[in-house]
Symmetry: C2
Subunit: 203 residues, 2 copies
């Protein structure tokens, strides 16, 4: 995992400004056409200051993905609910939501970065952490639901977690690359979880 | 939809040779680094002959996606089975299979092209046709299964089709971008279909 040297000795406000500029530039230009200059232009910093903190567009984007991961981790940690079933629904909604301010444009750029991940181990490592976090939070809630008896005893927490991570990835991918409405996928996934998990479902 | 001019008046063997060269070059170099020269080098044709048939890398790739679509359509048309449930399983296997000769490398390039689709209407139109074909064949089999009584009467064929298309897209994306084993997704999807569809499931 590449940790950019410059971010460590930068003021938090500077890092925040760079991350905000990267977000805006990515949303407006996408990944392939993004230049360091585009990011600098969206901050109070010069291009050389930006280069002091981050050697390359690659290093900056790795730091940006890590920044997004921290946000996602915080979102997931805040997921509330009275029981595992409610929390699972919230996890799905948190991971699914795509029409918040600017998130849709960001998704477009992320799909481009996913397309580069097979050629870039740092990108791949970052993206795996998102996948792994989503997987783990689903699995732990399913495990808890089994323990409390809310969920069926014969459910495999890992299998459910894999299925949820896969369906959400597919929904994001289809929405972005095909520009189709995938809001029904969230509903379908929640129905699937109810049917598959709840001990008193279908009776 | 951009239909490249040159493919129309080219000999079938020439088109076949170009498509084969495109396949090999894409698998070896990916999409972003692909040059017309790389494709010409994998055929008996000169770069200028290639340019006579296809104006640009973009036009050639659109033609290549259409060529892949024709293959996929033929594969789907060949899907056999005694009843809708069996045919659905075969459809999932056909759409899922990823480790045939060179298919994995091709998937890597396709994910890159998916990442460009938001910026390229021709790519997007092509990719939508794949999605639509998969969706339609799932839906028509679910409809038939409802009519024959093999499937539950309360199942929504469109919803099932959307879910299958989404899960398969997610499996491909995760396998390619994260390099994780997603063979369990095929199993999970088949289980989901059995549980969700079969009239005599869970009794």
């Amino acid at each position: 995992m590449s940790e950019s040297r410059g971010a460590d000795d930068a003021e938090p406000e500077t890092v925040e400004q760079i991350m905000r500029g990267t977000f805006e530039a990515l949303c407006e230009r996408g990944y392939a056409d993004l230049r360091m200059r585009d990011i600098a232009d969206r901050t109070d910093l010069s291009k050389s200051t930006l280069h002091y903190h981050f050697d390359s567009k690659h290093d900056l984007l790795v730091a940006f993905l890590e920044h997004l991961y921290d946000d996602f981790e915080a979102d997931v940690a805040e997921v509330a609910g009275e029981d595992p079933a409610q929390r699972l629904r919230e996890v799905v909604r948190t991971a699914y939501r795509g029409d918040d301010d600017g998130r849709e444009e960001l998704r477009v750029a992320i799909l481009e970065i996913e397309g580069q991940a097979p050629y870039d181990d740092d990108f791949r490592d970052c993206l795996r952490r998102f996948d792994r976090l989503l997987h783990d939070v689903v699995r732990s809630n399913v495990e808890e639901g089994k323990e409390t008896g809310q969920f069926r005893a014969d459910v495999d927490p890992d299998a459910v977690a894999t299925f949820v991570a896969t369906a959400l990835t597919g929904a994001h991918n289809r929405r972005v690359s095909l520009d189709v409405d995938t809001s029904d996928v969230e509903t379908l996934l929640l129905e699937y979880l109810d049917e598959r998990l709840l001990a008193d479902a279908g009776e």
